[in-house]
């Protein structure tokens, strides 16, 4: 237990300090983390005279982009956790395999959107996005476990 407490608590305490101090300091690199956690990938836009089809097309892209961005971030954490021996290779491979499967779902949705089937592409991308966010939450929960 003694060996366990310092590494985990120190790591977690560092994260806590980072979160609180960066909430106070504008321009701190930690704001990158806040932006990354809270901001949508696309800047909010007001498109005048946008018809329903154009809006659906734009939102389908946004959904695909958010899902691709989330998987990219997840893959980086998976790779870093393996490289730093935070996780076993087996565990990291399990999560990467899952991530690659979801990536294939996104590739399918992208092809569907490319041929103009906006409704189906949106449904496919939304379904994949839900699974991807669940995977992200699972990865966060698994932090530190071997």
């Amino acid at each position: 237990m003694k060996a366990l407490i310092p590494s985990r608590l120190v790591k977690g305490f560092a994260a806590f300090l980072l979160l609180t101090s960066c909430a106070l300091l504008a321009g701190c690199p930690g704001n990158q983390a806040f932006r990354g956690m809270t901001e949508p990938l696309h800047a909010p836009v007001v498109v005048e005279n946008e018809d329903a089809a154009a809006k659906a097309y734009r939102l389908a892209h946004y959904t695909l982009d958010e899902a691709n961005g989330a998987l990219t971030a997840a893959n980086t954490v998976i790779g870093d956790n393996a490289a730093n021996h935070v996780w076993s290779k087996k565990k990291a491979q399990k999560y990467l395999d899952q991530s690659i499967e979801y990536g294939k779902d996104l590739d399918k949705a992208r092809k569907t959107l490319r041929i103009g089937n906006i409704a189906d592409a949106t449904v496919q991308a939304e379904a994949a996005k839900k699974l991807i966010f669940a995977l992200q939450a699972e990865i966060a929960r698994q932090a530190g476990d071997q």
């Binding site: 806590f16 983390a33 800047a43 790779g79």
Partner: protein, 72 residues
């Protein structure tokens, strides 16, 4: 507080802090992606161009993660 409860509290707190740390890490990784998309938007990139760029970035991240796992 008895030792068993103390141990449970310490373990639970450490776990929560671990989760917080990984969320921060994920935030750090996503931040540059937000910047890239905003930069492409500012340059007038089309929705297709942005989506393709993010798809390529994700596929590249799969390869990089696999290389890191193989090397670990």
């Amino acid at each position: 507080m008895d030792p068993i409860t103390q141990a449970a509290v310490v373990t639970g707190t450490a776990k929560l802090l671990d989760v917080a740390l990984n969320l921060v890490l994920a935030g750090f990784e996503r931040g540059p992606i937000v910047d890239k998309v905003r930069a492409m938007e500012a340059e007038g990139a089309t929705l297709d161009q942005i989506t393709d760029a993010l798809q390529n970035m994700r596929q590249e991240s799969e390869k990089v993660a696999q290389e890191k796992i193989d090397a670990a």
